[in-house]
Amino acid sequence: MKSAILGFGLSIPSRKIKAEEIAAAWKQDADAMISSLGVTEKTVPDAGEDTFTLAFEAGKQAIEIADIKPAQVSAVFVGSESHPYAVKPTSGMVASALECDPFCHCADLEFACKAGTAAMQIVDSMIRAKQISHGLAIGADCAQAKPGDALEYTAAAGAAAFVMGTADNKNALCQIDQTLSFTTDTPDFWRANGKDHPEHAGRFTGEPAYFHHVREATKGILEVGKIDPKEIDHVIFHMPNAKFPNRIAKEFGFTKEQMEHGFIVPTIGNTYSACSPLGLAHVLQEAKKDQRILLVSYGSGAGSDAFLMTMLRDGVKLQPDTRETTYIQYSEYQSLVKSH
C-alpha cells in the first residue's frame, strides 16, 4: 500500500527585503543581481520567528487540512540547516507543541536543502512498512548568508509540512508513486561547526553539484516510473535561484506551464530545506485529480531526492495569508539575521 499526502501546510514570514535594498547597501548593481539570480525579494524571519515556530505553524496547518487529530501522528521528522539547537531536536519540540501522542518517532535531519524531502522519504517508508498510520514531514529553515555575498539575495526563511498516511485514506490527496535518491560526496557548499555562515564554491556549485545530481535523479525517476516528461503535469525543482531550475527544466524539455505553480523562488527566495517542499505546497493547491507531479530536490554535499506523485483528488486551496507584507530596510535586516 503506497503512502499519500493527506494534508499540507506552509509558513512564510511576512517580512521581506527587496533585492534593490540589499544591492544599495553593498553598492552593487541591483538590475544585474536581479537578472542573474531572478529573485526580486526574499522573506526575512523577524525576531520572534525561528525554524521551530515556522515548522510548528506549517505542521498545524497540515494537520488541519488532513482533518486528523494530532494524537494520530506517530512520527515527526524535521529537516533543516538552521535547527534552533545543535543538540535538542526541533522534531520533539514540534511533536509536543502540536500535541501529538508522546509515543511518536521523532528525529531531526540535515542534508542541506534536501533535508525536508529526506523527511518525506522516511515518513513514506514508515507508512509503507505499516509501522505508522500517520506521519508528519517538515522542511523548515531560517537560512543564513554571509553579508555581502551573493547568497544574501536568496537565503530566505520558510517552512512546508506534509501529513502523510496510507493512499486509501479518505482524505488522501497526493500519492507517492516512486521515490529515489542520488548521493555523492561533493563539496559545493558547507557550513563548519560553530560558524555563523556557510561557504560555497562559486561556479563549482553549478554543473558538478546541482546539475549533475538533479539530472541523475530525474533521469532515474523517469526511468523507474516509466514516464515521459510530456506526461508530467507539474514539475518542481529545487530553486537556489531562478536560473538553475529553468536550465535543468529545459534539458528535459519541461515547459513553463509545467513549472508554473511550483516556481516560487522569485518573490520568496531560497528557503533551503523548505524550498522544493514549498513549491510542492503551492502545486498541491492548483493541481487536479489524476495529474502527475515530479519533485526533485537538491541538497549540497551533495544529493537529490526525486518523487513521482499522482493527485488522488483535486487540490485544496489554503486560506490566503491574512497579514500585510512589510518590506524592511537593510539595517533592520542586519539586526534581525544576527539573532538567528
Binding site: E49, D50, T53, A97, R323, H340
Partner: protein
C-alpha cells in the same frame, strides 16, 4: 566550541530555567485560541531579559473566556482598536544566557478576508501619479460611456478641502477602522502625510451596488489600493490602466506632471513636493509591477485616451 549567541536578546537573570520552561509548555497549548483585544499598550522599555525595543502587548480575551496578556504582532500599533479579533501565533520569546529558548504565543491581526472564488465582475481602475489627469479622464468617461461605468466613491479620513468633488466620503479614523475590522472594505491603505496618517479605501457595498445596476465600477486609484483590490477580487477582475504623463524620459514625465500640478492650483508648494515624490514612486511602480496593468496609456491627448478607454469598456460590457 563557542555557540553564537543571538545579539538581539540580552541576558536574562534567574528566570527561564529548564524546569520552569518545561512547566510553561502547558500554557502554550491553552493559549492557541482566537481572541478579542480588551486592551493594549506599547511597553517602550521591556525588562531585562527581553529584546531591546518597544513591545506591543495586549490583554486578550480568548474564545473560552479566559484572559491572557501577550505580545501583539502588528507593524502599526496605531491601527489597533479594542474589540479587534486576533489569531494565535507561535513565537520565540526569549533566549537565556545558556541558550535555552522560551517560546510563547503572540497574537496577530488578520488583515483581509479571503479572496472570493467566483468571478465577481469587472472593476475599471485608473492608476497614475497626481496631476496626470486621472480625474479629468474619469469625468469624461462618465459622460461618454456613463451608462456603463460609475465612479466608486473613495472613503478617506482626511479633512475635506476645496476642490474636492463629490468623489470622497469623509469619515473619522474610528469609523474607518471599524469598517476595516468588520471586513466591509474591499481594500484600504494609509498614506502618511506631513502631520498625520490618512486612510483611504473602497467599501465593498459601493462596488457591489454598481454591479447590481449592471454597470462597471470605476476607481481612480494609487498603487497600494490597486494591489489590494487585485488581491481581493482577483487580478482578472480588474481592468487596470496606468496613466502616464507625456515625455520620453522620466525627467520629462516628471516635469510634465509638475507643470500640471502647478497649473491646477489646488495644492501648496509643500503638498506639490509630496505629490512629486509619490509620482516618482508611481512611475517606478508601472515598470516593476507591470503585471498589475493591462495597458499603460500616455495621457497627452485627452480625447484619444478617453476614446481608447471607452472602447475597451464597451468591449468588456458586450462580452
Amino acid at each position: 566550541m563557542e555557540l553564537p549567541l543571538p545579539v538581539a536578546f540580552t541576558f536574562s537573570p534567574m528566570r527561564n530555567t529548564p524546569a520552569a520552561n518545561h512547566r510553561a509548555q502547558k500554557n502554550l497549548q491553552q493559549k492557541m485560541q482566537e481572541g478579542t483585544i480588551l486592551s493594549f499598550t506599547t511597553v517602550r522599555h521591556p525588562p531585562e531579559g527581553f529584546p531591546v525595543g518597544p513591545r506591543v502587548i495586549g490583554l486578550i480575551e480568548l474564545e473560552d473566556g479566559t484572559k491572557v496578556t501577550s505580545p501583539l504582532l502588528t507593524s502599526d500599533a496605531s491601527s489597533l482598536t479594542i474589540g479587534m479579533k486576533v489569531l494565535p501565533k507561535m513565537r520565540l520569546s526569549r533566549v537565556n544566557d545558556q541558550g535555552l529558548r522560551t517560546y510563547d504565543i503572540s497574537y496577530e491581526i488578520p488583515v483581509q478576508k479571503p479572496v472570493k472564488q467566483e468571478f465577481p465582475g469587472y472593476v475599471l481602475a485608473l492608476t497614475g501619479p497626481s496631476g496626470v489627469g486621472k480625474t479629468t479622464v474619469s469625468l469624461l468617461l462618465s459622460t461618454t460611456v456613463g451608462s456603463y461605468v460609475e465612479r466608486v466613491p473613495i472613503l478617506t479620513t482626511r479633512e475635506p478641502k476645496e476642490g474636492d468633488a463629490d468623489e470622497y466620503i469623509h469619515v473619522s479614523p474610528e469609523e474607518f477602522l471599524a469598517l476595516k475590522n468588520e471586513g466591509k472594505l474591499a481594500t484600504s491603505t494609509s498614506i502618511p502625510s506631513r502631520d498625520e496618517k490618512r486612510w483611504y479605501g473602497y467599501r465593498t457595498e459601493d462596488i457591489e451596488a454598481i454591479w447590481e445596476e449592471k454597470k462597471i465600477p470605476m476607481i481612480i486609484t494609487e498603487m497600494n489600493l490597486l494591489q489590494g483590490l487585485a488581491s481581493h477580487y482577483g487580478r482578472r477582475s480588474i481592468l487596470s490602466f496606468g496613466l502616464m504623463p507625456p515625455g520620453k524620459s522620466k525627467r520629462q514625465k516628471l516635469s510634465a506632471l509638475l507643470h500640471r500640478l502647478r497649473d491646477r492650483g489646488r495644492d501648496t508648494e509643500k503638498q506639490i513636493e509630496d505629490r512629486m515624490k509619490n509620482a516618482e514612486a508611481d512611475l517606478e511602480f508601472f515598470a516593476k509591477r507591470s503585471e498589475l496593468f493591462d495597458d499603460l496609456i500616455v495621457n497627452d491627448d485627452i480625447d484619444s485616451v478617453v476614446g481608447q478607454l471607452g472602447g475597451l469598456v464597451l468591449e468588456r460590457v458586450k462580452a
